[in-house]
């Protein structure tokens, strides 16, 4: 591995300051939450920090707390803790389920919510060191290349898919992201946190240099809310989503009062499909209606040369997730 220095931060403020100071000195700094993905990238020379700012020593920001208007979850909570947390499982099932599908127990034991949401793409070109948009370059190798796992919505000029399951669930839950940085603290609605390549191909989110995701706020779920996360993988564990769906339904009996359907594995950001939601809202949700909503969800898909199968797969995933959420 390249030589690097580790600095242990005791607070998020200190972490930000350490990173900022390194940058002012002309050095590169990376944050380590769980650290698994970071170390892999350092070994592969995709990231080459001179300074690693460890957030493992930060006190706090790892709890689930009930507040007046919902729930706050600290960004440093591990995926394992998140997936097992009773309140999350009961009231935000989609988030617990999403956390439970990430990688393996060993990674979930250290990986953090913030790290998972901010992880860089897993596109094989990016990870094999091609000088692409995501690496600060000026092309996307998947556009006319091997794009079996790339975007069918929202792509261009980069066609990566967002790698985070947690991100998809948080958009479905209408989360608010709380950020801290050198100059300010700010809140960003989940829907605005993620960035399409058409806006900026080098980034996946609005985090500024040295900014950190402190945590998320989730609004109180509706009393009739049910949710689920369905992740399709190319083996039974330990892969990123080929296609996934996070669905939150607010049901009164069989009638849908509210719906949020967000897709993973299909776009450079978590991809909400409001048109499909509209098919459901105000109606009795039946298997047939679920099928119609799934049909609408794939309207406007623009597959690439090798990922056309994702269109049918997306339809199948949306329909299956909705049907599985119907009260029996």
């Amino acid at each position: 591995m390249k030589r690097l220095r580790n600095a242990n931060a005791r607070t998020l403020g200190e972490a930000v300051a350490l990173a900022r100071r390194a940058r002012d000195d002309g050095a590169r700094a990376s944050y380590a939450g769980g650290g698994s993905d970071l170390l892999g990238m350092v070994k592969e020379r995709i990231e080459e920090p001179d300074l690693v700012v460890s957030l493992k020593t930060v006190v706090g920001h790892d709890q689930v707390e009930t507040t007046g208007d919902g729930v706050r979850i600290g960004g440093l909570i591990t995926l394992d803790t998140l997936s097992r947390h009773q309140l999350v499982r009961d009231r935000f099932a989609v988030l617990a389920q999403a956390a439970d599908t990430v990688a393996t127990p060993q990674i979930r034991n250290v990986g953090t919510l913030a790290g998972n949401v901010s992880q860089r793409p897993w596109c094989w070109y990016y990870r094999r060191g091609f000088d692409c948009y995501k690496a600060g370059g000026t092309q996307c190798f998947s556009a006319t290349g091997e794009n079996q796992f790339h975007a069918i919505f929202g792509g261009g000029p980069s066609y990566i898919v967002h790698p985070s399951d947690i991100a998809v669930a948080l958009v479905a839950l209408d989360a608010t992201f709380r950020l801290t940085g050198p100059s300010e603290d700010r809140s960003v609605p989940a829907a605005q946190f993620f960035v399409l390549p058409s806006a900026n191909p080098a980034r996946e989110n609005v985090l500024r240099e040295d900014e950190l995701l402190v945590g998320v706020g989730l609004p109180v779920p509706a009393t009739g809310a049910r949710s689920a996360y369905h992740k399709v993988m190319d083996r039974e564990s330990w892969t990123h989503a080929v296609v996934s769906a996070a669905v939150v339904l607010d049901l009164a009996g069989e009638v849908c009062r509210g719906a949020r359907i967000v897709l993973g594995g299909v776009a450079p950001t978590p991809w909400r499909v409001p048109a499909a939601e509209q098919i459901l809202i105000g109606n009795r949700v039946t298997a047939a209606l679920a099928a119609r909503a799934a049909d609408v969800a794939i309207e406007g898909a623009r597959p690439l040369s090798k990922n056309g199968y994702k269109v049918a797969l997306t339809k199948g995933v949306v329909e299956r997730t909705l049907v599985d959420l119907l009260p029996t």
Partner: protein, 959 residues
């Protein structure tokens, strides 16, 4: 037009150019110590004789040069360090670590706890799993400094007062470890599972352990062992006895724990990468980033100038031929072949022929310096046109991988495809009522053994010792001696434990030679290590194939003609045969098979468990299954009608194909599960059933054994085997005990060291039990004769018997037989395939050890399922770059993927082999892809003709 590049170590497009420069700026200060001697010249001068180290080898090297760790750090430009405290297995340590050391590096290199293994160093395999405050983590993916103040448990910490933990004991009793390399990680995860839930369900166990790959794919046995501790009902350790009622023996037969199981479950087993020698330094290889390129110039001066670097070699400095790296005709490399073949594979080739082809190698005081040195080697490449696909490579205008053309020459140096014919295939087609044609393809599949290639090379005078994972110590020794121009007896190969090979650790490897040369020139032992990425690209995997079949059949279902035109992609070098087997399964008297082994600019292809079989069996048995379907004939009936039978020119030692098929069909309930027509289930989730069958080689052949008895009536068996996971040490010990008429506890097995052990053909081709086992029986017979004549020796005397039989079956064909029946469930809306029932019935003669034999079948089957559904190595055709090397990219089967493989042995004794033993190790993988493919067809009514059968292909087939 050229391309300056720093090999695989840098990013494409020079993204990290400036960053490497800054690192170089730091390290170029202080290249000599106060005496004006560089570390490099010192080591070269003294021949590397250093004091015995009680600290890490790197520390010792620095100490020998008069440099303390702190001094070295200062001189080398301030490698950041931190002092940490941690508890490991109950012992508190205070240690100064470099900030960049991973936890596993700290444990293995500096705390000397080598029970934790590194499989990939990327968090993609789980071999390095330890417990941190009771929670399973990948120790390769945590910095050591991050565990300051934490409590770490490794496999060495599982024992209490010298007693194995209940889990360790269950692993011993239930054959948890095959090659043993994933074992410590599996134990740590299982320990965490049971700590959280003392009575987990099977699924909870699989979920808790799914972050631990096992390439031997021993998932069934691992879960059963955990269930045994968790209190679940566990079935009989033995596979079902098919009840053929052969005679019972005293030792041979029953499920028996491995003789070295305790070492494997405690972390005490010493694998090649665990061996350390005083003064050892580290080697790394620089590899081509181009699929095809000429090297115009290599400048190693900056690498050599880096403090801590002792040696750099290139094609100019070490023009050594690697004989086993490329043979013509797939034959054992010998002097006759050497005289004929014009195509040599060197350690460092020019031109380079695939991404990953070695270009240079360095030796340096530690791994990090070695890696940095690679980045300082400047190579001026001239990229050449490349070709990736076999058929395209045979086009007249294709880029030439070798000047003589891309059709690889045979052992007589002819550039012709391999052709076998039988009867008159044109007459056979004329006779047919219907002729069917189709095309099938199989992908490159890496052997992907858990232990990466590594070699520790050590010279004492002119004698070379290699600690290297090899499947054949005798072959490795001979190959190395030949390649280095030395007599065999000046090379010693040691391999006590090996973390899997599956065929890519046969013979010697270029890593062995590179390590030996670096060590010679550096005057110090050199541990050459390959990263997982290098092992993937730089070693080999199963050749991809394209198979065009024509089958002629009469209306009654009898096949009258089979024609195969096949292409095998061999990569840049012809390491092994490239054959495609399968046609010989059928009794059809008119056959033509033409297989072209073709050079391409991809990673080398070579042997992987039954090298010519799963590909060909998938092709031909899918083809025949399709023919049966089109003719409206039940696949089982079709097989029984057309399988190769005794009679005519073929005389078998025994023949049990029908029994295998019938028993498997009965257990599986074929008539209920098979859909007719295919794809007829209603609804999105469709089930279907498929089968495959085998007659498979089980020949006898030459090998050696030596047995010695002393006055304590203790027997020592010397055999040249290594144990690649199949349990050969135990099997040989059991055969010896049976043949000697003593309990296994009185037999010690010595293996894995050419200085002590006689010849063995090498653990490949599933032959060890039969060939070396026969030698063991002979040696035992000889020894019993001596004992009868002279009585037990007294005092310091011993009796020794040695045998090198070369048996024959007198012209009879000796096969093993088998049938696999598989049911799948396909969710057509999602393209998702799940195996819901898998029945494997095998006749492999007398089973020597029911436990290890059963797990060889179950593991091989799961490997085969992985080949069928997941694994390949994708290249971008525009630039010849591999995109998916490594465990994550190949999507290997995990615990949650592995179905339960119901295994039955029908036992026979045909009078050959040790007590009638036959081959087992390869049988499972040979049948799995064909059976799974046929089951998928039966479920969805679409023939999947291209492996791997991935989700996208299923969805597209159904669209």
């Amino acid at each position: 037009m050229g391309s300056r590049s720093k090999g695989l170590q840098t990013r494409q497009g020079g993204r990290s150019g400036p960053r490497v420069d800054s690192e170089m700026a730091i390290t170029s200060r202080g290249s000599t110590d106060a005496d004006g001697l560089s570390r490099r010249t010192f080591l070269r001068g003294t021949g590397g004789a250093l004091a015995i180290a009680t600290v890490s080898p790197a520390e010792a090297a620095r100490a020998a040069t008069g440099q303390t760790a702190a001094g070295a750090a200062t001189r080398a430009g301030d490698v950041p360090r931190t002092s940490i405290q941690l508890t490991v297995n109950g012992t508190r340590h205070r240690v100064e670590v470099e900030d960049r050391w991973t936890l596993v590096e700290l444990l293995r290199d500096h705390l000397r706890l080598t029970g934790t293994k590194i499989g990939c160093d990327r968090g993609e395999c789980g071999a390095c799993t330890v417990l941190m405050d009771g929670r399973a983590v990948y120790s390769c993916s945590q910095l050591a400094t991050w565990v300051d103040g934490r409590d770490i448990t490794t496999v060495e910490g599982l024992e209490r007062d010298g007693e194995l933990s209940p889990l360790q004991q269950a692993f011993v009793d239930g054959n948890g470890p095959q090659c043993g390399f994933c074992t410590s990680g599996q134990l740590m995860s299982a320990t965490a599972v049971l700590a959280g839930n003392a009575t987990p369900t099977r699924e909870e166990i699989q979920q808790g352990m799914t972050g631990n790959l096992c390439r031997c794919s021993n998932y069934n046995a691992l879960v059963e062992a955990v269930e045994a501790v968790g209190g679940s009902v566990v079935g009989d350790a033995a596979a079902d006895d098919g009840g053929t009622g052969i005679s019972k023996l005293a030792t041979v037969g029953p499920p028996t724990a491995r003789v070295d199981a305790v070492e494997r479950v405690t972390g005490r087993a010493t694998y090649s990468g665990d061996v350390t020698l005083p003064g050892m330094i580290y080697g790394r290889v620089l590899r081509s980033p181009h699929p095809h390129a000429r090297i115009r110039r290599i400048d190693v001066s900056r690498a050599e100038a880096l403090p801590g670097v002792t040696t750099v070699i290139t094609h100019e400095r070490a023009p050594i031929v690697w004989g086993a790296g490329s043979v013509a005709g797939g034959r054992q490399y010998n002097d006759r072949v050497k005289a004929i073949t014009t195509q040599r594979r060197h350690l460092f080739n020019n031109p380079v022929r695939f991404v990953g082809d070695p270009v240079a190698a360095v030796a340096a005081v530690d791994r990090h310096v070695a890696e940095a040195a690679l980045g300082l080697i400047e190579v001026d490449y001239e990229p050449l046109p490349f070709v990736l696909e076999s058929e395209a490579a045979l086009a007249p205008d294709a880029p030439k991988v070798w000047p003589e053309g891309n059709l690889s020459p045979d052992v007589d140096n002819r550039h012709e495809p391999m052709v076998t014919t039988l009867g008159d295939v044109d007459a056979g087609f004329a006779e047919a009522d219907q002729v069917f044609e189709d095309r099938y393809s199989t992908a490159f599949v890496h052997d992907a053994q858990m232990e990466r290639r590594t070699c520790l090379a050590h010279w004492e005078g002119d004698k070379l010792t290699l600690y290297t994972p090899t499947q054949g110590i005798s072959n490795c020794r001979h190959d190395t001696a030949r390649d280095l121009g030395m007599p065999d007896d000046q090379v010693r190969v040691v391999c006590k434990f090996m973390g899997g090979g599956f065929g890519n650790k046969n013979q010697n490897q270029d890593a062995d030679l590179i390590a030996a040369i670096l060590a010679r020139r550096a005057g110090a032992p050199v541990a050459l290590e390959l990263s997982r990425n290098e092992d993937w690209l730089g070693v080999h995997g199963r050749w991809p194939t394209v198979q065009y079949y024509r089958v002629g059949v009469k209306n009654d279902g009898v096949v009258t003609a089979i024609d195969l035109r096949g292409y095998s992609g061999m990569g840049g070098y012809r390491k092994n045969s490239g054959g495609i087997s399968g046609i010989e399964l059928y009794g059809c008297p008119n056959v033509r098979r033409e297989v072209s082994p073709v050079y391409t600019n991809r990673t080398t292809s070579g042997n992987f468990r039954a090298p010519t079989y799963p590909q060909g069996f998938f092709g031909i048995q899918s083809m025949m299954d399709d023919v049966a379907d089109k003719m409206g004939i039940d696949p089982v009936e079709f097989v029984l009608k057309n399988a190769q039978r005794p009679g005519g020119t073929i005389d078998y030692t025994n023949y049990t194909l029908d029994e295998c098929i019938r028993e498997a069909a009965r257990q599986f309930d074929w008539t209920r599960r098979w859909r007719s027509p295919a794809g007829s289930d209603v609804g999105p989730v469709k089930r279907g059933a498929g089968m495959s069958f085998m007659l498979f080689r089980s020949a006898v052949g030459r090998s050696s054994a030596i047995i010695r008895v002393d006055s304590r009536e203790q027997y020592t068996l010397f055999v040249g085997v290594t144990d690649i996971g199949g349990g050969a040490k135990t099997t040989m010990g059991m055969i010896a005990a049976e043949a000697l008429g003593v309990p296994l506890s009185q037999v010690e097995v010595v293996s894995g060291d050419t200085d002590r052990c006689p010849f063995s053909v090498g653990e490949s081709g599933a032959r060890t039990t039969v060939m070396t086992g026969t030698a063991v029986v002979e040696a035992a017979r000889d020894l019993r004769g001596q004992l009868a004549e002279r009585g037990m020796p007294t005092g310091p005397n011993v009796l020794i018997a040695s045998a090198t039989p070369d048996p024959s079956t007198g012209g009879k064909v000796r096969n093993c037989f088998g049938a696999h029946f598989v049911e799948v469930k396909v969710d057509t809306a999602l393209g998702h395939v799940r195996i819901t029932k898998y029945v494997a019935v095998h006749e492999s003669g007398r089973i020597i050890n029911h436990q290890t034999a059963k797990d060889q079948i179950r593991g091989a089957v799961i490997q085969g399922i992985g080949q069928a559904l997941h694994e390949d190595l994708l290249y971008d055709p525009r630039n010849g770059q591999p995109l998916t090397p490594g465990f994550y990219g190949a999507r290997h089967m995990t615990h949650l993927d592995a179905p339960d493989i119901e295994t039955t042995f029908l036992e026979t004794d045909d009078g050959y082999g040790p007590f009638g033993g036959k081959y087992v190790g390869e049988s499972g993988i040979v049948l799995a892809p064909a059976a799974v493919g046929n089951a998928i067809f039966n479920a969805i009514g679409r023939r999947m003709k291209d492996l791997p059968i991935t989700r996208d292909k299923i969805i597209e087939a159904l669209a």
